[in-house]
Amino acid sequence: MTLASIRDLSAHYSAGGTRFHALDEVALDVRSGQILGVVGESGCGKSTMASVLSLNPGPSLRVTAGTLSVAGTDIDLTDATRGASASHRALRGGTVALLPQGALNALNPTRRVGAQAHDILAAGDRRIKRAVSYERAAARLEALDLPPRALRAYPHQLSGGMRQRVVTALATLRNPRLLVADEPSSALDVSSQRLLVDLLRRLIAEGLVEGIVFITHDVALLSELADRIAVMYAGRVVEEAPARELVSSPRHPYSQALLASVLVPEPGTRGRRLTGIPGSPPDLRAPLAGCAFAPRCEHAMDVCATDRPPRVVTGSRDDSCWRSAETEEAAHVG
């Protein structure tokens, strides 16, 4: 069952009269009880997408089109509704919530955890009693193996791992349907990453959240965490597939190149010279006519430079590449 679907999401940043295209007709589905991983490199628009999905877009971001449907609620993501952002405020934290990058900086260092928990709950229900919010926060902390005394602690009194769990507990305090995690693992070392992965799986298993969008640059981590993986390049989703299939048989040339650059301590990594991806990502100031990856793609054809490749759906996966489109066509003709 589909928990959330993002449709036709386009956004750009404007600075000094120049437009930087950040998201270009992004469409994604998050299924109930699943983790959707979104992977891409610097500047591919993944953090912009996290900010839009969690209804916290930055002031210089212009969302020109897009809707988010979460569990029956249709949310217009465009700027037109930003003036009336009271409606977004009602959804923030309750329907969608953000698990921010860098748990260490996400807490107010001058306030106790309990007070911050109360603020979050009071944002949803202004008349909530302090005692009630403490009780609910304590229960949530306990679900994540944190002692209730953490409520009386200031952030600096907690260890890094505890802070990560406190931030996770606070982000999910109002039982959001959809949790958007924006690179929560990037500043952590591998052992803490492992704990975070287990924690997110537990949130789903225990029904504390219904679905997670996990945004990262680390495709190896996603292959262990996510049910499905979407690959982004230059503001577009170029491929989306079940995690295992994407890792074992990526179809889009960018996904293939990205997976080929992953260095893992597994046999086969050594003694083989990897090439990386030659060239650099496109200039996002100009609108891209064809496939965004074409200039760096070794399979590029003439059509790739001029026409945007269609999204070709095959079974439970899809990708946007002219090669797949031609294979598909040949299959129909034959």
Binding site: S42, S223, L263, V264
Partner: protein, 262 residues
């Protein structure tokens, strides 16, 4: 092992910060040997003391105990002009390619600063040295020298920093998380560059990282650091394939695998 095969070795190197109950023993008695013409990866988690060890080797910090021997010479306490001479032999590239640049200065000015370490006679050839070093890291010299940092991508910046280090023709390069902030596809090109420097110029590299995957791809030998001490070291293949120390095993178990065996 004799001093012939080793470029640098430390003996019981230790560094303590703070005192009393605040005391932190960041590096606790490290014996590390770097073999000539090899890439040694120093792997450890955040807080394991690997960067402190790197800074001790660079003579940016004074050790509390122990010695550093470079090419058979005791360099533990060199300072002043002797330390500048040492820096001609030992150069470093650090993690953040955005913080390492002066925002307003062109690449040429940044590189020229590094040339001050060279004797005055050599400095006159500054421009050709810069051009050769930039060419060695795969950048177009004419174009890059006139640029300011914001006009370069992260990978390009890190390559300029490598070029800066290479201009001095150091015998030892210490790369402290030099590729951690780069995207995967760009990272590979910088790692390949380090491998080429070893293969073509016989450069010795200490590659400090938290990422076992990168260490395994690049290094000849891996030393694993935990709580200020080296718990295991050996050929990269052996350390990853059959780790001997409990900590190395748990570290390997926590690394996300691309291909699940199950």
């Amino acid at each position: 092992m004799s001093a012939d095969t080793e470029l640098l070795r430390t003996e019981g190197l230790a560094k303590t910060f703070g005192r009393g109950c605040e005391e932190v023993r960041a590096v606790a008695g490290v014996d590390l040997a770097l073999r000539r013409g090899e890439i040694t990866a120093l792997v450890g988690q955040s807080g394991s003391g690997k960067s402190t060890l790197g800074r001790l080797l660079l003579r940016l910090l004074d050790p509390t105990e122990g010695r550093v021997l470079f090419d058979g010479q005791d360099v533990t306490a060199v300072r002043g002009s002797a330390r500048r001479d040492y820096w001609r032999e030992v150069q470093a590239v650090f993690q953040d390619p955005f913080a390492a640049f002066h925002q307003y200065r062109r690449v040429e000015a940044t590189l020229a600063t590094a040339l001050r370490l060279l004797p005055a006679a050599t400095r006159a050839d500054g421009r050709p040295l810069m051009e050769a070093a930039l060419a060695a890291v795969g950048l177009d010299a004419a174009e890059t020298l006139a640029k300011r940092p914001h006009e370069l991508s992260g990978g390009q910046r890190q390559r300029v920093m490598l070029a800066r280090a290479l201009m001095l023709r150091p015998r030892l390069l210490i790369a402290d998380e030099a590729t951690s902030m780069l995207d995967a596809s760009v990272r590979v090109t910088v790692l390949n560059l380090l491998a080429d420097l070893r293969d073509e110029q016989g450069m010795t590299v200490l590659f400090v990282t938290h990422d076992l995957g990168q260490a395994y791809y690049l290094a000849d030998r891996i030393a694993v650091m935990h709580r200020g001490a080296i718990v295991e070291s050996g050929p990269a293949e052996r350390v990853v394939a059959s780790p001997e120390h409990e900590y190395t095993r748990s570290l390997l178990a926590d690394v996300p695998k691309l291909h699940r065996s199950g």
